[in-house]
Point group: C2
């Protein structure tokens, strides 16, 4: 829906459950991160797995991002078709069919960077690139975050040397994402964990340079470590995702200056409606497991009425404990909840409703929703 086509609509008009984005907060979060990185001379390539939304990606690029990261090829295809460039796909492209798709993507968006952590996969990419007469930009994915990647140090240098012999593959640098660091609390511990992991990437960079490789890109960092990793010499760009929206999980990681992480504002909520009042201190809302992420046992936090405690009550419902609520809650009341974990929550919805105050200023399609392939 084009924004200009929207009738005058407020958040009170939206059928619930619905995903709401406070645009003032979103824009402030975006400006803050972009300025932080710009001031340090670092590239800004935010992770689009958080939002899966073309309009958000465009706003990020307008704010100074050099491109975006996507977790999966199918996400990248959506963004490329929407005109976004500067793509870095953070998961390796495995299997003949996906490699064929990756080549089509590279033809349309030649500056796309693909990651590899395996010799044979690199060989297959090179073979396909030669057959298709296309060049592919490659970053080596380093195993510094307990997820994917080749071991830093010698094994990574070996892989770079193999890449150098493979036609049509162009080594761009390193991906060093430390997933487990991003939610480590408190701040001092997070610094320690992230610095230790990232130091392996920096050492690998040194080894590569000593072996004669240019390493223009070292990409990493997250919303939790943006102000840690950005102080480490040798990182060239950062790929934070959640900072635009924020969630309950990130609120709890502890900030640099105290217990609360409040560097970015909680801009994303889900609005739900009370659909049953079965007991005096209980209310049932129309948002459950299919409307909020449930990983890590975190719960939605009610923003509309203090003291309301949410519990999941099945796939479609939540149960509110009102015994400590600051005011009564009636059938039909609409309540907003900060989401437990933003990325998988956004992935449940088809649209983000951008609010300016109470007015719905924009309805953005979550165009890559469900694109996990």
């Amino acid at each position: 829906m084009a924004d200009s086509m929207l009738p005058a609509m407020t958040k009170h008009d939206l059928p619930t459950p619905a995903l709401l984005l406070d645009l003032d907060r979103f824009e402030s979060n975006l400006r803050k991160m972009a300025a932080h990185l710009r001031e340090r001379g670092l590239g800004f390539r935010p992770h689009a797995k958080t939002h899966k939304c073309l309009e958000v990606a465009r706003a990020q690029i307008a704010a100074g991002a050099c491109g975006i990261c996507t977790a999966k090829l199918s996400e990248a295809e959506v963004f490329a078709a929407g005109g976004i460039r500067g793509l870095l796909i953070t998961t390796a492209i495995i299997g003949r069919q996906k490699i064929e798709r990756a080549l089509r993507l590279a033809a349309a968006a030649p500056d796309t960077i693909f990651v590899v952590d395996d010799d044979n996969n690199a060989q297959e990419l090179s073979d396909a690139a030669q057959a298709g007469k296309l060049d592919l930009n490659i970053a080596i994915d380093l195993y510094v975050g307990n997820r994917t990647g080749v071991a830093p140090g010698g094994p990574a240098v070996d892989l770079a040397q193999k890449l150098a012999k493979l036609p049509r593959l162009h080594f761009q640098g390193l991906q060093a994402y430390v997933g487990y660091a991003s939610h480590t609390a408190p701040f001092a511990k997070r610094c320690e964990v992230s610095r230790e992991a990232v130091s392996k990437a920096i050492e690998t960079r040194r080894l590569l340079e000593r072996a004669g490789f240019a390493v223009p890109i070292v990409s990493g960092g997250s919303t939790g470590t943006y102000n840690i990793d950005s102080e480490i010499q040798g990182i060239t760009e950062m790929q934070p995702g959640s900072f635009i929206f924020m969630d309950v999980e990130y609120s709890r990681i502890g900030g640099r200056d105290g217990e609360t992480y409040s560097d970015f504002s909680r801009a994303l909520t889900v609005v739900a409606t009370v659909v049953s009042r079965p007991e005096p201190h209980k209310a049932i809302v129309d948002a459950g497991i299919k409307s909020f992420s449930t990983d890590k046992g975190l719960l939605p936090e009610c923003r509309s009425v203090g003291g309301v405690v949410y519990a999941f009550a099945g796939d479609e419902h939540g149960r509110l404990d009102l015994s400590q609520a600051e005011r009564d809650v009636k059938l039909g009341d609409r309540l907003e909840f900060v989401v437990p974990h933003c990325d998988p929550t956004v992935n449940l919805y088809d649209q983000i409703h951008g609010l300016r105050g109470e007015k719905v200023e924009a309805v953005w399609k979550i165009a890559a929703r469900g694109m996990s392939q």
Copy 2:
């Protein structure tokens, strides 16, 4: 995609992660439940919140279902537009806008049944029905399952008497869904819990009949209690959902004859690809929090290789512990996983791939995916 348009495709051709349905098992599950209820003279109104898919609903009706349940109005709209009739919407319709939509639905699908648990909501429905010159079928939602509903007994009879005075509303009976019973283990405890809760609905039915009301419908039951509730005199129809697919959660509730609940076959899996092998006993697959439900702490179970243990490794990845694996797992291997909880997992995907053996026989759109409104 029309089935006849499908090229010869096997499950090995599908980009991963993908949702797979073994059609032999699915059809067997469907026949078994339909026969169980038919033999007892009970109506079969399976819950479509599990599948959100028109083709599955059509198969259920072909197997003898009198209609389907949906959890939400927006789901029902999708099924009604697809020609499905006999809809029972199991959550109350709250608020002016949704009531207007409910009236449009009733105009298109006049046999739809709506539930109420509140006087004022009933009044609003009646007012709107009068204004629209339409009749609405109403079931009273009973609070027997710790979620929504009016208290059984006197309060329910009072509500029926109020309904009787409201023009255009036609009382059809009771909804008595006992959510918490469905996964109570073991079987003996499940019997006790379900019978105690359902007895309140049966007693309410008696009170209503004594007060002069016909009660043609008493709807309840689940995949966990289908062979418990179906033996209770006074239940007229059952609304099980998960039995068509099954999942890890239902496997663990205990069967009538022992520790394993194997009344229905595990027909639904997610196929994922190994995208990294960072350590000898670790493999990373391309399916994580966005590809499997995460509620209740249950994990996907690997069906392809014995001894493989899955752990979530973020939104897009899973980490496999191979230390006890029956065989090695290589980069590019495709592994199938039984899903932790079927309903919210299906809601993450756009398509169900129906398999006959290894062949993809059908690709069904999950047309009501994300319809939580």
